[in-house]
């Protein structure tokens, strides 16, 4: 749970107080109530359903409230092969999600196009969206996606929501050279606990 701990002394609890930073409190709330937008495009969607279902049960990590309206979501899981015909709809859904929002590219198709090296398939959803976590596998097992959600929670822990309020949302930048969206954290956000800034795309886990 990070630094959000109950008060050390018994007397603080008696008096009803707990001391923490606002950033930590906001991040604690955000990371434990991720509401996924299940964009199940192909066979990865089946694994996604298994993940939400009782056997793997992502409600253990607070992410079981899958909503089918982008207005109510803050985590987009792109599960499956994204074709160019669907790409604009996918981008529109992403644009309609309120900030803060995160993206998991589930499976090789959405990470890199996978085996579909074709005119019809987007060669990685980072061509149209900034992606936080890439999950390998064809399709990945549900526990791997759960691992991705845990990694994303650790990433959210390190955000500084109050600084983002000052400087605007940290959404990805489009790189003309590689034709990819790079999920660069806002400059105000350190990528490690100690405050050290790592290269874009590298995160402490």
């Amino acid at each position: 749970m990070g630094p959000l701990k109950p008060a050390e002394s018994h007397t603080d609890i008696e008096s009803g107080f707990m001391a923490t930073r606002v950033d930590e409190l906001i991040n604690w709330g955000r990371k434990n109530s991720l509401w996924p937008m299940p964009l199940g495009l192909s066979c990865c969607g089946i694994e996604l359903m298994a993940m939400i279902g009782p056997k793997f049960d992502i409600s253990r990590f607070g992410a079981e409230a899958a909503r089918f309206s982008p207005r109510q979501c803050d985590l987009m899981i792109v599960a499956g092969t994204l074709v160019w015909k669907m790409a604009e709809a996918c981008r529109t859904i992403y644009d309609q999600m309120p900030d803060p929002k995160w993206v998991i590219a589930m499976g090789v198709c959405s990470s890199s196009g996978g085996m579909y090296d074709s005119y019809a398939v987007v060669q990685g959803v980072d061509m149209i969206l900034p992606v936080d976590i890439y999950v390998p596998g064809c399709p990945p097992r549900p526990d791997v996606v759960i691992d991705a959600i845990i990694k994303l929670q650790r990433k959210i822990e390190r955000e500084r929501p109050l600084k983002l309020l000052q400087s605007g949302p940290a959404i990805g930048e489009y790189d003309e050279g590689t034709k990819r969206f790079v999920r660069t954290p806002n400059q105000a956000v350190p990528t490690t606990r100690s405050g050290e800034t790592l290269a874009p795309g590298v995160y402490e886990h």
């Binding site: 790409a87 604009e88 309120p98 090296d117 061509m127 149209i128 605007g168 489009y174 034709k179």
Partner: protein, 173 residues
Amino acid sequence: MTTIERIQAALPSVALETKSAADGTPTISVALSDVRNVIVALRDRCGFESNTFVTAVDRWPHEPRFEMSWQFISFTHNERVRIHARVGGDNPSVPSIVDLFPGAGYSERECYDMFGIAFEGHTGLKRLLMPEDYDHFPLRKDFPHQGIEPDRLYREWDRRRRERSPISEESAS
């Protein structure tokens, strides 16, 4: 009486050239101007009630470049027949059969999407599988094997994203 003979009897005025097909389906080559007449006769006088597919083959670099192919099935006679016609590669255009076989609409849209062949008389001829503002026709032989990305699309999205505030009027509507 074979299928071809039955069709020829219904169409005494049109010269039908038969071709051999690898799968044994009776195949007829006709000139593009005769295609409508032949298909109307197939439907109305020979009992071919259903259109199986409308597609094309790209014979590039040979001219005429495209070989159109229509296949029909007759449930009463348990027969199939295929019609071929060649179309030039310069602004290719063939008559639509949507008014005769409404189900051919999707086949013709796909054919337009993949080969860029216009179907005259089709009421809603737009791309079926590729994005609507894509500039290329993927199943043409001069289309690169690796494909061409619809570059313009994501540049356009990125420009719009940069221009607007996080919750814009466009996405709110």
